[in-house]
């Protein structure tokens, strides 16, 4: 160590000679050597920081800026020269009272209120059942239950769209056999159809996290509960479920954030049934439509900010509720 510290001290410029004289030179030299070491180490994070600043922070700043401007065409009918002018909070104010946007948000919120708890309950049941099975059986089934998680989301959506299809898919004729005429693309059914495929895709991942949490429940508790005469179901509900609460809050939070931004599934359904899935069907679809079909980037940005705020509030409220009921 000593050889290293003297050499690096020799190389260092003598700018701070005054400071060096203030305390014992050897100690000071070593402290500065440490600082230099840490600075060199810190510089390893520079590529990430630079890229993060450019591709994450700059867009957020630009979002705030873009939402404060509006493109006005001076030639009428939108063909003349576009001039960009500062409109302050006008776009945001318009977005906050946009009924088309909020009816999309209402649809998605209702869908989330049904789907997110359902996904959690099914995933938790799956994890509990898997935990109750023999180790070897569980290991075999776990791969099968994780299959949907390995399938690309777009492929999953397309496969279900075909499964729902009256011409190609088997589901339609199955329901016909039961005497039901199920049109999975109709406006009454479309959220059920999307919900089912979202559930199919999501339970594997959630089950994995909850199953992992269940594995860390200490063994001894079950023995004690069994001696006290608790049934398996009772053990599951009163011991295991409370034990995985933290993981449950996390998977719920992630589900809500994802669900409120739902885009891919409705867009693909729109390819099949454009009269049911309108261009403003969900907030994310409307943002996409405003920005890239209508071409109003400024307004689309304002809508994205409103969506982000709604998601932030929803997450905060959920977090609050869960941490309050814990204490």
């Amino acid at each position: 160590m000593s050889t290293r510290s003297t050499t690096s001290a020799d190389v260092r410029p003598s700018r701070e000679r005054g400071a060096r004289q203030a305390s014992p030179p050897a100690l000071n030299r070593q402290a500065r050597w440490r600082t230099l070491q840490n600075l060199k180490g810190a510089s390893l994070s520079l590529p990430f920081l630079a890229g993060f600043a450019l591709f994450s922070i700059v867009p957020i700043v630009m979002a705030l800026r873009e939402s404060a401007y509006a493109a006005r065409s001076s030639g009428g009918l939108g063909f003349g020269d576009k001039t960009v002018e500062f409109v302050g909070l006008d776009n945001l104010a318009r977005a906050v009272v946009d009924t088309t946007f909020w009816s999309g948000m209402g649809r998605v919120a209702l869908y989330a209120v049904v789907l997110v708890p359902l996904t959690q309950v099914v995933s938790l049941a799956m994890a509990l059942v898997l935990d109750a099975a023999r180790r070897k059986v569980a290991a075999r089934f776990r791969v099968a239950l994780l299959l949907p998680y390995m399938v690309p989301g777009i492929v999953a959506t397309m496969v279900w769209i075909y499964l729902y299809s009256p011409t190609v898919g088997p589901l339609h004729s199955f329901f016909e056999m039961l005497g039901l005429d199920a049109n999975f693309y109709s406006s009454e059914m479309v959220w059920v159809s999307i919900g089912n495929l979202a559930l199919w895709g999501a339970i594997g991942f959630n089950m994995l996290i909850l199953y992992g949490a269940l594995q860390s429940v200490p063994h001894e508790i079950f023995e004690a509960a069994r001696i006290d005469g608790a049934s398996e179901l009772r053990i599951a509900l009163s011991i295991k479920v409370p034990f995985v609460r933290g993981s449950l809050v996390l998977t719920t939070l992630l589900s809500i954030i994802g669900t409120l931004q739902i885009f891919n599934e409705p867009l693909l359904f729109r390819a099949i049934s454009p009269e049911t899935i309108t261009k403003d069907f969900t907030p994310a679809l409307m943002i996409y439509n405003q920005a890239f079909q209508v071409g109003n980037v400024n307004y689309a940005t304002a809508l994205s900010i409103v969506l982000a705020v709604v998601i932030g509030i929803a997450s905060a409220v959920l977090y609050r509720i869960s941490s309050r009921s814990e204490s």
Partner: protein, 312 residues
């Protein structure tokens, strides 16, 4: 002692345990929760039903990809008819001068280059945060955690404006560059580096005269092999599956990745000469099999990544 073991076998670094497990259950030991008697049959029955629900759609896809255009509509969807998989594959890879092959290749290129870049950037960043004490370290962690909360939809429109100004809109860089600076990967790398890179070993290397960069590149990176594989795998799969990003940032058909291409076929429905339904199904199968194979064979990597992710 631990130092010598680690230098002796640098690749044999255990995956850091995300949380201390009180007690591991083993195969020999009967599961604590294991059901008995009738409830065991109940458990098995529920598992079979769930497995059917999970695997059923994939079974249908597999069967449908082997059928001719006509039999796709007329035969039972859940069982094979005439086996036409190879002629379907031939149509898939020759349709429109083999555009599907091009899309597959693009997907591999975007996912491959992006994931290699991300892995290096993230390992360096995570290692710096975990192993050094410097001003701004707390701020960096704060930014990383805060960025988890930002919804992706907020980024898409301003990114479009940014990419247009940078001149990378509608180029492959729009697909590769932004993904290389994912904060979640840095977070993963930091958690791994805390467990896998012993400070004493770094001190030993310093005594031997190695500089900080040399320590990272010749020792740190090797100790972080598991972390690197996890980060690479998670990002590779994510960029294979990405859809909204290329939909917004790539105009040219020949630049598309496979998911966007399949969507364009779904949207068109039928062509004058070919029924695109059959192509979409065969293409879906072809683009899914590599992902399933990759994820099943690399389970130990992505499962540890997912568990650590669940702790954030």
């Amino acid at each position: 002692m631990s130092q010598t073991t680690l230098t002796g076998a640098p690749t044999e670094v255990p995956v850091p345990e995300p949380r201390p497990r009180r007690r591991r259950r083993t195969d020999q030991e009967p599961s604590a929760a294991e059901a008995r008697g009738t409830s065991r049959w109940f458990v098995l029955g529920v598992l079979v039903l769930l497995a059917l629900y999970a695997a059923g759609p994939l079974w249908w896809l597999l069967v449908a990809a082997t059928k001719s255009d006509g039999q796709l509509y007329t035969t039972d969807g859940l069982w094979f008819a005439d086996f036409r998989l190879f002629s379907n594959l031939q149509t898939l890879f020759t349709y429109q001068d083999g555009i599907f092959g091009r899309w597959l290749w693009n997907t591999v290129v975007y996912a491959g280059i992006g994931s290699v870049g991300l892995t290096i950037v993230a390992l360096a960043g995570g290692y710096a945060i975990a192993k050094y004490r410097y001003r701004g370290r707390g701020l960096t962690m704060g930014l990383i955690i805060a960025s988890f909360l930002i919804p992706g939809t907020l980024m898409i429109v301003p990114s479009f404006v940014l990419f247009t100004r940078l001149g990378i809109y509608d180029t492959i860089w729009a697909m590769i560059l932004p993904g290389m600076f994912g904060s979640f990967s840095v977070f993963l790398a930091k958690v791994y580096a805390e467990g896998a890179v012993p400070t004493e070993l770094m001190e030993a290397a310093r005594i031997d005269g190695a500089g900080e960069y040399r320590i990272f590149f010749s020792m740190g990176l090797r100790l972080l092999t598991t972390a690197g594989a996890t980060i690479f795998l998670l990002h590779f799969v994510a960029s294979w599956n990405t859809f909204m990003w290329p939909l917004v940032f790539l105009k040219g058909v020949e630049k598309w990745p496979v998911m966007l291409g399949l969507y364009s076929w779904l949207q068109r429905g039928t062509d004058s000469s070919v029924d695109l339904t059959s192509l979409v199904l065969t293409g879906s199968l072809v683009s899914t099999i590599p992902m399933i194979a990759l994820m099943i064979s690399m389970q130990r990597y992505w499962r540890s990544g997912v568990t650590i992710g669940s702790l954030k």
